[in-house]
Assembly symmetry: C3
């Protein structure tokens, strides 16, 4: 029994909620065969927003009560699967000429070769494929938003790809 006056607030039901955290990494890329200046190696400060959807845990004995996922746990997964893999790399298509690849590998410490053109669209597709199998089974990847520059971004949505 509380013996002093308190405001009270009650909710009637648990809800399905989306949770999002922002991540940042620095990455260089080159667009093989592109008809513009982006064909050359250049870098961006990428911003990645990861949005998960699930039911808030409804169990007062669970230390994660009221959460879809602990933001700290989400941070751990994305840092391990995405940020540590791509941060401070040069990402290039596997179609790049061997001479240029050798040169890049000598100039840059960390070349990451991918089987796609590393546009913002393809990177966000790759990230979705990497993240999905690493999530707890009761939580779904809802969408990813990847800023390549301050005013342009690409998004992958689960609902667009079912």
């Amino acid at each position: 029994m509380v013996i002093f006056a308190l405001q009270e607030s009650k909710i009637s039901a648990m809800a399905k909620i989306r949770v999002t955290r922002e991540f940042n990494f620095e990455m260089a890329h080159a667009l093989w065969n592109y008809d513009g200046p982006c064909r050359n190696v250049h870098g961006h400060s990428y911003k990645l927003f990861v949005t998960l959807i699930g039911d808030s845990i409804d169990d007062p004995d669970n230390p994660k009560n009221g959460m879809v996922i602990d933001f700290g746990e989400l941070k751990k997964i994305i840092n391990r699967e995405i940020v540590k893999v791509f941060d401070h790399t040069v990402v290039v298509s596997h179609l790049v000429e061997e001479d240029r690849l050798k040169a890049m590998n000598q100039m840059f410490g960390n070349v990451l070769m991918v089987n796609y053109q590393p546009t913002c669209e393809m990177l966000v597709t790759d990230f979705a494929e990497r993240i999905i199998p690493k999530l707890p089974s009761e939580i779904k990847l809802h969408n990813l938003k990847l800023f390549e520059t301050a005013n342009s971004f690409a998004e992958w949505f689960a609902d667009d790809n079912t």
Copy 2:
């Protein structure tokens, strides 16, 4: 009849439109039984984005012609139902021990006890339940986005909870 040259622009039909306004409030909370530092009282600068959906009013005699809702009216509703209730409060679960509750009530002027763990996920669920009955009948709450920190937020969507 206009007697000088003017550019003109015409639309062919009214559309269903979503309108959003951002709100800010300062709030402290403590997560009862959580296995991390957030178990202790701490504060955040919350940012809440309220998104409504409806048809733009199509009546030249209505002073709100062309609007889903006057942004000023939306501001009034959310300030009354959310900002004034939660701004500069300490929000705690009703499961908190009575001793700690008493201590908090003595230290802080404005303790708000809620029947849930006051995570970002649960707060946004509470806000949805508070806002929905206060909206004009022809306008629906589409979604809420609540930033707890500058890089993490939770979202409630009507479509996720039907």
Copy 3:
């Protein structure tokens, strides 16, 4: 054959992706018959986010390989269809009294008369109608977000208007 060690990353399938670019323009408007200060001519720094949806091009011989649309091409279309039309104009409803229209046309160099009340909701509807017919046939306008002020915006979504 690559003769040195490289990390590799592979994706298994192309995805449907949304791409967005932000645009900015300065515009004045007056809301005819409105019951607030916005009835008078005043300006805003508008921010428009244009989101398209499509499949990333999957053709290594195409210079746009891996893109839904070249961001440069999107920029060209929106600058031509929206920014150049509305930037530094005064937008007024065709219902405005002729005297006021004449006075505005004398005071401001660039009055744009529209057949609607130029609220944020109606402007974004007009913009959608202008952009849709100018896009390549394989790409769809997914949504538009128009900030009128730093903390309020209206959105048009194709899915809300089918």
